[in-house]
């Protein structure tokens, strides 16, 4: 019996594939394979004319299977599935051979690459022969979106979705939203203050009827899938009644306990009952139970006595909230590189060596010095050094460029000059001023008096034993000399790093991380918000270092992704589930505990296993374990995979 009519389409991808793999040889090879009735090659198979070739052959030659040898199916499988569907062929009758990412791009030798491409095409044709038509299924979508992280990315995404008329839950771990941006002083290149542009947005978040704001809260568990995530959130006890509290701040004034304020990066103090900063949203304090005298000794309760509306609740417990969501946006931000891991920078050893966020707090009018740039002893510095690339562009730490540090350094230089009379030495490896109006800002600051840009990496910070001044060692690569520059303050522009719990968070949301530890986008250029987990999107610096404009852009982009899901109202779920053959199943029940989704149950009446297709995600673990071959993973069944194995081994 003749097999189904198969068409093979070999893509050159410009020179990406054709530059390595012999296109004519591959096309002719495919034409000779059994059941192949047409084999063509074309410069760009994904283009309209390329797709038209496939569509025309389906219609005119009555193709029953299509094999496209081109890029990764992760790239263009949807494109070619759609092309088949348009021409009336069931999209599950299309198979791809990945001869770009997994062949032409990774192979040195052209002859070996061509041979490998043949093996991959043979494998795909073999599988295609055994493919069967499948119908997509749709399931309804919960209209709510969960956003994790209340920095500028999460805030932007929340507002966009809320303004589009959809409901949002914004979950933030800290007592206030605002994230790292709330700590900043002026922002480059326009020098508007971070609070001035951020706080109106924070207030809008708190006031928007479509936004449920959960601060001091963390996501504990995520189950389900796109359109139907079930999420457990722990709302930690603030120890106050938020409805009664009017944010007057009397409790914070009277609390006798002082501890370092995390928000001030260790430069200022806060009380045990506190709001992290004056513009906090919500403007309601939390009691830090680790440091509160009452929780430690059972005595004190001063805050309770002085609270006018009687809002203090010492016995409040954590609240567990479970909610369904259609889409999730992870916008968990970054952590600054800890410069104390490199002793050469003197951070933690010398008082006046500070990192970038500490400088932001010093310079900030609501910071610990009221916006004055002062040394630890309260005096004004006479000379300040700014070091770029601390922990970034350095194979000892992070290889990547942290992207914002050149611009923040230029900004720091300007702010130091604006507020003090100190000379500024800016030690850079390369000056990367990549954004809109950035180069102009840099040029402006270069022209300012007493700012010296020195091309060279700040190698070491020492203390002059005689004068007590800090000495920064640098090789001035433009002059070709080594220099030791005496300064009073050193600002280490430390890198943006993934948060230390990023692995745990990635696992919780079923997303992956790139080698640098940041969350992995689906496609670096074309799908920067999508992740491998459908319905979970990423935004902001959890994906990679970026500045505020890019973060806001990505936050809005992630909102669009989430809206796409919730407005559609339904999602397509894969029909590539498992199924049981009732005649083959012996009822041994080995498969039942193997299923991670409890999708397999035992039909007592018939004495066989059965798969609940709504729960099955199609991993195929059951099929691999069924001793009687009764369980079949659709689209990846034994016959199809055996045929593929024969195909790759034949060449």
């Amino acid at each position: 019996m003749p097999g189904p009519k198969i068409g093979v389409y070999v893509c050159h991808c410009g020179s990406n594939i054709a530059g390595k793999v012999d296109m004519d040889a591959l096309r002719e090879f495919a034409a000779e394979l059994p059941d192949v009735v047409v084999s063509r090659d074309y410069k760009y198979m994904c283009s309209d004319p390329g797709q038209d070739l496939i569509k025309a052959d389906i219609k005119e030659k009555g193709l029953e299977r299509v094999v496209v040898a081109s890029c990764s199916p992760r790239m263009h499988e949807p494109t070619f599935k759609r092309a088949c569907q348009d021409a009336g062929l069931n999209p599950y009758l299309m198979e791809m051979a990945n001869i770009r990412e997994q062949c032409s791009w990774v192979t040195e030798d052209a002859e070996a690459a061509t041979q490998k491409a043949k093996a991959l095409v043979h494998s795909a044709v073999n599988k295609a022969r055994h493919l069967e038509p499948l119908e997509d299924k749709t399931v309804p979508v919960d209209p709510k979106t969960l956003i994790v992280g209340g920095g500028i990315a999460g805030i932007e995404a929340a507002l966009k979705i809320a303004e589009a008329g959809k409901e949002v839950y914004l979950v933030e771990r800290e007592p206030s939203i605002g994230g790292n941006m709330a700590k900043l002083d002026k922002t480059f290149p326009t020098l508007d203050c971070a609070a001035c542009i951020l706080t109106p947005k924070m207030v809008s978040v708190a006031q928007h009827p479509n936004i449920t704001l959960l601060t001091y809260s963390e996501v504990e568990k995520v189950e389900g899938y796109i359109g139907n995530f079930e999420v457990t959130i722990r709302k930690r006890a603030r120890s106050i009644d938020e409805k009664l509290c009017n944010g007057c701040g009397t409790c914070q004034e009277k609390c006798p306990i002082k501890v370092p304020n995390e928000f001030e990066e260790g430069l200022g103090m806060r009380k045990a009952i506190y709001t992290p900063f004056p513009q906090a949203v919500p403007n309601k304090p939390v009691i830090d139970r680790e440091n509160c005298t009452y929780y430690k000794t059972g005595k004190c309760k001063i805050c309770e006595r002085v609270c006018p509306p009687k809002a203090i609740r010492f016995d409040q417990e954590d609240e567990i909230i479970t909610e369904k969501f259609g889409a999730i946006i992870v916008a968990t931000g970054y952590q600054l590189f800890d410069p104390s891991v490199g002793p050469q920078w003197g951070y933690g050893r010398y008082d006046n060596v500070i990192h970038g966020l500490q400088f932001e707090r010093l310079s900030n009018a609501s910071g610990p010095t009221g916006g004055k740039i002062l040394l630890k002893d309260g005096s004004e510095p006479e000379a300040v050094a700014i070091l770029h690339c601390v922990g970034s562009r350095d194979t000892n730490y992070a290889e990547y460029c942290s992207r914002i540090c050149c611009m923040t350094s230029v900004k720091f230089a300007h702010l130091v000059r604006e507020k003090t009379n100190a000379k500024v030495y800016d030690l850079y490896m390369d000056m990367r001023t990549f954004g809109k109006q950035y180069e102009e800002f840099y040029n402006r600051v270069v022209a300012e008096r007493d700012i010296y840009f020195i091309r060279g990496k700040g190698a070491e910070v020492m203390q002059d034993p005689e004068t007590g001044k800090l000495l920064v060692r640098v090789e001035d690569t433009l002059l070709g000399v080594f220099r030791e520059i005496p300064v009073d303050m050193v600002i280490l522009n430390a890198a943006i790093c993934p948060r230390p719990d990023s692995q745990e968070v990635a696992q919780k949301f079923g997303i992956q991380r790139s080698a640098d530890g940041f969350f992995l986008e689906y496609h670096l250029k074309l799908e920067p918000m999508k992740t491998a987990n459908d319905g979970v999107f990423i935004a902001g610096t959890c994906q990679a270092p970026k500045d505020i404009p890019d973060t806001v852009g990505q936050g809005a982009g992630a909102a669009a992704e989430a809206l796409k899901v919730v407005f559609a109202g339904k999602v397509t779920v894969t029909p590539t589930t498992a199924e049981v053959s009732g005649t083959l199943c012996s009822g041994c029940r080995i498969c039942i505990p193997l299923c991670p989704y409890n999708a397999i149950t035992f039909d007592e009446a018939k004495g066989v296993a059965q798969v609940n297709e709504a729960l099955c995600k199609g991993c195929g673990t059951c099929a691999a374990s069924c001793p009687s071959g009764a369980l079949r993973a659709k689209h990846f069944d034994n016959r199809q995979l055996y045929a593929q194995i024969e195909g790759v081994c034949a060449e």
């Binding site: 992760r74 043949k118 080698a515 590539t576 991670p596 673990t621 194995i645």
Partner: protein, 169 residues
């Protein structure tokens, strides 16, 4: 067992022999990692050919044996790192299976060095290329897997023991 343009029979193996390695990669992590190797233009031997499955848990021991039977000299199974599995725990099932399966392979006369299970994330293009390189090298050193008859001979008394064991276990 031949490379394009150099048709040499296996009997004349020696110089012309090129090992074949089949890699079963899970769609979410390892296959993505292999794509990343490509996107990063890392180079690894063309001897390794990839078959996509949705989860490493789908890789039945029968697939591995089938690959060896069809002439593969080595087999790689790639899954997500523990805790990262797209299907929660498919990779653990694969790991458990591997421990039993490796003993079975030896009974078939297949050296353990020809089979490898690796956790490769979507961000580990470099790891994928390295593993491919290492496995092809290891298999090259082991030489061709040879025919079933040869294999059974190599398994010494093990084949006999299996026969004597009776039953179909």
């Amino acid at each position: 067992m031949t490379q394009a343009g150099s048709p040499k029979s296996q009997a004349a193996a020696g110089e012309g022999w090129e090992p074949k390695v089949v890699a079963f990669l899970c769609n979410w992590c390892s296959y993505t990692g292999a794509d990343l190797a490509g996107i990063s233009r890392l180079k690894y031997p063309a001897n390794l050919r990839i078959i996509r499955v949705m989860c490493s848990g789908r890789v039945s021991p029968a697939f591995v044996l089938k690959a060896f039977h069809e002439g593969a000299d080595g087999v790689l199974v790639g899954g997500c790192h523990p805790g990262d599995c797209h299907y929660l725990e498919g990779n653990y099932k694969t790991l458990k299976r591997k421990l039993v399966f490796e003993r079975l392979l030896e009974q078939f006369g297949i050296e353990p060095g020809r089979f490898r299970l690796e956790w490769i994330s979507g961000g580990e293009g470099d790891k994928f290329a390295r593993v491919a390189e290492e496995l092809v090298k290891a298999v090259r050193e082991l030489g061709p897997l040879g025919s079933t008859a040869e294999r059974l001979g190599r398994a010494d008394g093990l084949a006999l023991r299996a026969e004597g064991g009776g039953g179909n276990a």
